[in-house]
Symmetry: none
Subunit: 418 residues, 2 copies
């Protein structure tokens, strides 16, 4: 079964409102092994709503439409669907009673317009709305279910969770299993060289490469009619893919790099101090994004000026003169001094040229030196990041975190060496 989800609403189509209902339903349906084939958004326009429904019925096995079931004139889903399917609207007494009961309990007189919400296409089944007035509506149209849901997220979610997802799951006959391996340090194309055509050997599986500032996530989704086979393929894919890229996996699922670093710090009962120049506090900010960060980050030095590098971290004017503030020598010194002066086990530093100005022939914009220092030893690396100032800074912070992670895990700090 492959379904189509249709969102109705000008505010979504204009980008002003995020379509959180779609995200909610798509995730819930994936977990319920219901395959979504299409998602279409149209505005509050009866003709377009009707056309969209007919198109969806021509290609999908079931249609879920959300939005446009309220009492105001811009809500036209009810009428558009009745016309498109040739199922005239009829008053549904149980809904009217439900609406009146809600009004009575809230102690307020309802305007008569709310009664339009009790109109449903002929032959519909209704799901009463536990947190609002407009019901969920289920229409069996030539053996294809058409489901209408109200747009306000609490009402939508309540009806989706109690009725729509279980109802569709029961009828799906498909099973889904998926996992995500998060990698850092290799480009998409380099990962592809290592992985090659391996996914072709997994029956019913798809591999997606999802690149971002934070690395490349590898997401595998397996679908099929037999739950045990799907599970088995997913396990095999997990093992085989993991083997090909194990050296660069920093986390699984939705775990972040800072969580991976924190786990390694907590295991050793170590704390960390940061020394940053071009990232200007971003690295310390990342390390304190997590609740309870005081167990991990002791302090951070944002030594943006040369004077502050000297005063706070004891960088020498000789090193600054001989190598410049953006150099391996200064990065190493910063990491070591941060560690020693904070009295903690790990120091990490970043010094570089985030741009857009300040580059030179030898050290172009994007040149960043990173260092780590701990009882396990010291390491320094240089990178040349491409992109805007913000990209250079984000990538530098993520690279520094990965360097700490690899250092604490006693892996080679260069991820391409594995």
């Amino acid at each position: 079964m492959r379904i189509e989800i249709v969102t109705i609403g000008n505010e979504v189509l204009s980008g002003r409102t995020f379509d959180t209902n779609f995200v909610y339903l798509a995730r819930a349906l994936e977990e319920a092994s219901v395959v979504v084939g299409w998602h279409t958004t149209v505005g509050d326009n009866a003709e377009l709503i009707g056309e969209t429904l007919k198109l969806a019925l021509s290609r999908a096995d079931a249609v879920v439409m959300m939005g446009g079931l309220g009492p105001t004139p811009d809500d036209m889903t009810r009428k558009a669907v009745a016309t498109a399917l040739n199922r005239p609207l009829q008053l549904e007494e149980s809904v009217l009673a439900h609406i009146r009961e809600r009004g009575r309990r809230a102690g307020r007189k309802l305007p008569s317009s709310v009664e339009t919400m009790a109109l449903v296409p002929r032959g519909s089944e209704v799901w009463q709305n536990p947190v609002g007035a407009a019901p969920g509506i289920l229409i069996d149209y030539r053996k294809k279910p058409v489901i209408l849901l109200p747009g306000p997220p609490p009402e939508f979610e309540a009806l989706a969770e109690r009725h729509v997802v279980p109802w569709l799951r029961e009828r799906s006959g498909t099973h889904v299993d998926s996992f995500t391996l998060r990698t850092f340090g290799l480009f998409e194309s380099q990962l592809h060289e290592r992985i090659g055509t391996l996914p072709d050997t997994w029956h019913g599986a798809a591999l997606a490469y999802l690149p971002s500032w934070f690395g490349v996530d590898l997401r595998v989704t397996v679908t099929g009619a037999n739950a045990a086979l799907v599970r088995g393929t997913a396990e095999r894919a997990y093992n085989e893919l993991g083997e090909r890229v194990q050296g660069v996996i920093y986390a699984e699922g939705t775990q972040t790099m800072e969580e991976a670093v924190r786990e390694l710090l907590l295991e050793r009962k170590w704390r960390i101090a940061t020394a940053e120049s071009c990232t200007g506090g971003l690295l310390a900010k990342r390390l304190t994004d997590l609740p309870g960060s005081s167990k991990c980050l002791e302090r951070g030095y944002v030594t943006y000026s040369n004077a502050s590098k000297q005063e706070l971290l004891g960088v020498t004017s000789e090193d600054l003169a001989a190598h410049g503030a953006v150099s391996a020598a200064v990065a190493e010194h910063m990491a070591r001094a941060a560690r020693e002066r904070a009295g903690v086990e790990v120091g990490v530093s970043i010094t570089g040229i985030a741009g857009p100005d300040g580059g030179s022939e030898k050290k172009p914009v994007g040149t960043v030196f990173l260092a780590v220092s701990s009882p396990l030893g010291e390491a320094v690396r240089v990178h040349r990041f491409m992109g805007s100032r913000s990209t250079v800074r984000e990538r530098a912070a993520q690279t520094a975190l990965d360097m700490v992670r690899r250092h604490l895990a006693e892996l080679p700090v260069d991820p391409t060496l594995y």
Copy 2:
């Protein structure tokens, strides 16, 4: 002209990835008076991509497809479009040269798979990608434009802003003028009380309240067929709206709070130093988001532990014992010490409880003290921010920046007092 936007990608269709590209494009097109009629999302499936494009061409005047232009096998937009339109893929030399040049500058050898990104449907025009490899592709198919854009948001946004939006706006035939006043310090409802029904007097204009962590942006868009009338209405709206809310406007258009602060610092030729506890470096990071920040930020102290507050800023154990680290006394001391120890004119500090743990009856989660110190004087405020850890931290940083801004502009630091 009514266009269709098509998003391609399993990760979007499954609800795992938020379709920020769509939101970005839809908002930009609305400002450019280009009407979006449909938004369709399909997975990484060549057949469905082709069918979706044909359908879109049958109902829309132009089609923008985004995603699936990368170098890996799950990227199949290029091929699907070539097949659907019967425009075989051809090597575009200028793109290949662009990709090789990027590789050369980054100093790395590119795998041959990246060259697939230089393949474009016959008769395409290309827009080089300023921040990545895959170009934007413009195909004129029987007088209807089909535009293909890469999915990674920085690349997508760069191409959309530079090429796609201006290109479509030129062809739309409507005039638009718009402006944004960015406010901070009042809630949406408080602004609405001040503004009332004023927008009803502006012909063809719409006022949107856009609340976020960074305050409430007031965006006015005027549309019409006559350019001079549109311009005149926009000017009148700008003056009248500005008068109602002038005390809380920190910037216009896309200018940020940190830019506003920087302007004021540069005017006085002053520099700033930060002292942060719960924001963990976020404030310093914000102040260094801008190029050339070394003229403004001298250094930042991320004093997360009590020990670091004492060692780096001289906070006394008496103050810590008597008032706690989250207190007006400690905030004031931090701001003054940051300023004095860095040898600069302005110090700003944040100390608070970002949560989710660590709150108490007297100082619940979200309690944050902020202070500023300069030759103009000193000020300290306490706020109680609602929301998640991340919301509390973002709002605290923005509030600190606004406090510095108001202080330097010699406005009352409390924005409700105007």
